[in-house]
Amino acid sequence: MDGPTIRTVFGNELRGALRDRTLTTHFIVIPLLLYPVLLWLGITVALLYDAGSEDTSYRVGISPGLDPALAGELRADPSIDAFFASSGAETGGPGGGFDATAGPVPGGDGLPGGCVITADLSTDRGRTAAGVLEGLARDVRAAGFARLRDSLGIGRAEWEVFRISTSNEAGGRDMGGFILGLLLPATFAVMVSIGCFYTAVDATAGERERGTIETLLSTGADRFSILAGKYLSVLVSGMTSGLLNTASMILCVSAILGPLLRSEGEEISFAVEPGAAFSAVFASALLSALLSALMIASSSLARNYKEGQAMVTPVYLLSVLPVIFMQDPSISFSVSTAAVPVLNAALLLRDSLTGPAEPLPMVISAVSTALFCLAALWAASSLLSREEAAFPGEATGKRSLYSLLRGRRNTGHA
């Protein structure tokens, strides 16, 4: 290990990555562009949906015997074309059929608003029409009972019994953190992973494909330092990608969800506190440290970019795993979970959105990640120093991956 070599390789790798349009696009442009595009699409579709449903009307058949109050209400509603029908059998079908029919409920005589709604619930129109009818029937029933109550002389208090209200005691910041905690950790892991993915493959398999690996290995630098420099550059790009994506996502989520939820009467804050920002940086460092090491190790055997990608894919899939555990809110960032790689970073990120993280689990997670990284880098370094790895299928003959992994460092000493 020597510092200057690591620094030089690191600088060179980063410069190369920044000059490659493919790489910069993957870890800078896409995060900045993707979320606003999704946001725009979401808003556009929502507006179109609104506009589309504004002037839709449903054909509703009214069967004989339906509560006249409800029938009158149906005929008065602008979104319903009401017709008298003999039975409820004619629903569905694109032709002259009804979207839904409303008929009397057996045994509901004399009571307001009761009805049986028939509709083909496998069609969108049928389902929406049934929903509209149900809402109207409820209203009619409530109004009818109010009249009944008055005519019977029952007091309002006696009838209402009590009013039910609910109040959410979670503050705007708690709710903001909660919502972000549902959305962020999974995508965060994927984004860190993508950020590492392309740089890792480019720095190992891509280098071999371009033929620069031999040039690099023929210099006086030792292999572990070369690897360490590459590793650091992959780590930095993974972190950059993870943090940029997270920031962009928070901005877009707050832009779309903030106003949406405010109109529902909830003030939700998506502000990120400095403590949480620190934890997020720490989490992205943890995750990209681990994924970079695993990806470099798994792609260092590949002969070209495409093969490198295929080999790194399992690691990429591994980063999706925490999504499963995120479903269970009772699993939190604690002493025991902090030792589990990948999961610890996702949990730390989620928990830091709602409150400060404990120092002990953070230390544990750092130690456990460091151990995993060292193991992976050791494997990568020993793979890289294998001649079969440096010149696959060339001077040293073609061997299968299995025999390569099994084989000793040098056949002569075997």
Binding site: V37, T118, L121, R138, A157, V161, F162, S165, N168, D328
Partner: protein, 671 residues
């Protein structure tokens, strides 16, 4: 080449493609076998965890605190109702419960029954929406309170001799659909999305590398140097990709279906799959055009890239674009409209869902297949064409900064500006007033990057940005033309709204935002007309159109249309895109005809002013008689023609006169 030879060549190539693919076992293993193993595992783990969590919540005791000044009878009734509903619930009474306990999770809900000034007591349930035990407590309490109320009402009514039943018994919904149809229709909402994703990922394994990779390795040149024509090459690559895509999608789908049948993963609702009756062989009919489309799309992307890496990069937007139409089934209003059948991919998604819900609309299915296949054919044709183009082997780009280089990057750069614009404008609307956010948007977000681009790429100010004097005639002509343009664009808007209707409410909000604000006329004109006119013309007609025109194979008119579309996109709301893009085209034409960006600025500012005036006075161009619209068209076309004439004279004048300024003056004066 004879038909027979073509056919032989096709089969030979197809065989070679497939053989090469199957020899790349590592790729096949990782991109097809691995997901087939991992996806069920992920789903299994996920459903297992959800299940245990639900069991945990069900098994855990709900700790509820009850308090309030309501009469003891109410309190004890509420307490009994909550405690009696089954499940582990503990209710304790407290005089003044501590909300802190709720925050710390010691208590899951605090129920307060208070009597205020009104005669009816209020039962309030305080909970925390961000804690799931607390949400579970709320879910348990609410129905119990409602049941208590229902039973009290029933008692009250029965005293008057009237029987009573709750809403749930009196309003019933009966489904007339055959059994399984509803589950099929629910499943069908996202089914095509998954099919498309499976197809695209399978096809990518085979096809993403097939043109770009061959180009990279140099074998494309070898292939093209043989006697086989490009159509045959494309067809064989397409067939290979299609076969692999279909195969891998079927493998994955069968894998999932089998494991689901075996009960490998099951959710509470009895599994996410509809009954077997929903699946019919007819389902393959929309899948095959979808596979062909996916293969054509991936080949198209591959043909447009010079390396595998680049192809991958371009695949992401293509993937989003291909998958987005399948979401049409999520929106009842749009999904059931007959027009959607004619939209490629979207039509297939609708048909697929129809078949899953037991309906067979053959005509719709055929229409959907036809429209999707036509798009696939266009994509395949474009892929074949790009193979034969000059840039086939490798387009070497000029490394010098200039309009051509910016032209190649323009969409990416303007995409970024657009994204920043979207985010900041939404945030700013909340923080600042209209005036500030408009100024920040115009100067910081639009003008500043455009000026930077103009300097960074050394755009020539006269030839590319067209910053030169327009003379007198063109700006003068632009004034009436702009008014005519506004009328025409409103006609166009009404035409476009047949396809993309705008909701009344949104229009109202939008109109309010336009007209409210300051009443200061000079300020309004500066803010809404002059500044946007100058800034946006520089940004879109100057920098964007100028650099796009320098892009290879684009020319001024391609650049005009493309820059106008981008200009439309910057107006964010979908129903404004078409009319603003039209205004953009008109202003761009004015710039091209008169040779000066300033004409466009005048046009744009005047156009905004006319629109603003109409909105303030509530004048609708719809109200104009037919001859009004015709006159508008005549004015616009005539004005644009005259602008060009002025420029021709101007050139002639410049040739004659010794000084260019003198010549230009002479030219315009004589016009």
């Amino acid at each position: 080449m004879s038909e027979n030879l073509r056919w032989t060549a096709f089969l030979e190539l197809l065989g070679a493609e497939l053989r090469m693919l199957f020899r790349d076992r590592k790729t096949l293993l990782i991109s097809i076998v691995l997901p087939a193993v991992l996806t069920p595992l992920l789903m299994f783990g996920s459903s297992k965890i959800a299940e245990t969590r639900e069991e945990e919540i069900a098994g855990d005791t709900c700790r509820i605190v009850l308090s309030g000044n309501a009469p003891d009878s109410v309190i004890s009734a509420v307490s009994r109702a909550i405690a009696s509903g089954g499940g582990p619930v503990s209710v304790s009474l407290a005089d003044s419960p501590d909300p802190e306990q709720l925050d710390s999770g010691l208590v899951h809900a605090i129920v307060t029954a208070d009597v205020g000034r009104r005669p009816v007591p209020v039962v309030d349930v305080a909970y925390r929406a961000d804690m799931d035990m607390s949400r579970a407590a709320l879910d348990a309490i609410l129905p119990r309170l409602e049941a208590l109320r229902d039973s009290t009402r029933e008692a009250v009514l029965s005293r008057s001799g009237i029987s009573w039943a709750p809403d749930s018994a009196m309003i019933r919904i009966e489904d007339t659909a055959p059994p399984g149809a509803r589950e099929g229709s629910d499943f069908g909402r996202l089914a095509m999305l998954f099919v498309m994703l499976l197809l695209l990922s399978g096809v990518s394994v085979a096809a993403l590398d097939s043109i770009a990779g061959e180009r990279e390795r140099g074998s494309l040149e070898t292939l093209l140097s043989t006697g086989v024509d490009r159509g045959v090459i494309t067809a064989s690559k397409l067939s290979a990709a299609c076969a692999v895509g279909l195969m891998s999608a079927l493998v994955q789908a069968a894998d999932l279906a089998l494991l689901a049948r075996l009960g490998f993963f099951e959710t509470q609702g009895g599994g996410f799959l509809p009954p077997a009756s929903a699946f019919s062989p007819l389902l393959l009919v929309p899948v095959i055009p979808a596979a062909i489309f996916a293969a054509a799309l991936v080949l198209f992307v591959s043909a447009g890239a010079s390396t595998f890496k680049e192809a991958q990069l371009k695949m992401l937007p293509a993937l989003l674009a291909a998958v987005a139409p399948t979401l049409v089934t999520l929106f009842p209003g749009i999904g059931s409209a007959p027009v959607t059948r004619a939209v490629p991919v979207a039509g297939l998604a609708v048909s697929f869902r129809e078949i899953l819900s037991g309906r067979q609309d053959i005509a719709g299915l055929l229409l959907a297949a036809l429209s999707t296949l036509s798009l696939a054919a266009i994509l395949a044709w474009a892929a074949a064409r790009s193979m034969s183009g000059e840039g086939i082997i490798r387009g070497s780009a000029s490394p010098e900064p200039g309009p051509a280089m910016l032209g190649r990057r323009a969409f990416q750069v303007y995409g970024m500006i657009w994204a920043v614009n979207v985010i900041t404008s939404m945030q700013m609307e909340r923080l600042y007033d209209v005036r500030t956010s408009l100024l920040v948007g115009q100067f910081l977000i639009l003008l500043a990057p455009a000026v930077y681009l103009a300097i960074r790429y050394r755009l020539p100010s006269r030839t590319v940005l067209r910053l030169r004097s327009p003379g007198l005639l063109a700006p003068l002509l632009a004034l009436p033309c702009a008014a005519g343009g506004v009328i025409l664009s409103s006609d166009l808007y009404r035409l476009a709204s047949l396809l993309l209707p705008a909701g009344e409410r949104v229009l109202h909000d939008f109109g309010d935002a336009m007209t409210t604000g300051s009443t200061d006329v000079a300020g309004m004109i500066l803010l809404f007309c002059l500044i946007p006119g100058v800034v946006e013309e520089f940004v879109f007609r100057g920098v964007l159109m100028g650099s796009l025109a320098a892009r290879r194979g684009w020319g001024p008119h391609g650049a005009l249309v493309a820059s106008a579309l981008v200009f439309g996109m910057f107006h964010f709301l979908y129903f404004r895109i078409v009319p603003t893009a039209f205004i953009g085209i008109l202003a761009g034409l004015a710039v091209l005809r008169s040779g000066s960006l300033f004409t466009g600025m005048v046009w744009h500012a005047a156009s905004n002013a006319v629109a603003l005036l109409a909105a303030r006075e509530a004048v609708e161009p719809v109200g104009l008689p037919l001859w009004g619209h015709a006159a508008a068209a005549v004015v616009v076309v005539g004005g644009l023609l005259l602008m060009g004439r002025g420029r021709v004279r101007l050139r002639a004048g410049r040739g004659r006169g010794p000084g260019s300024t003198g010549g230009r003056r002479g030219g315009t004066a004589s016009a």
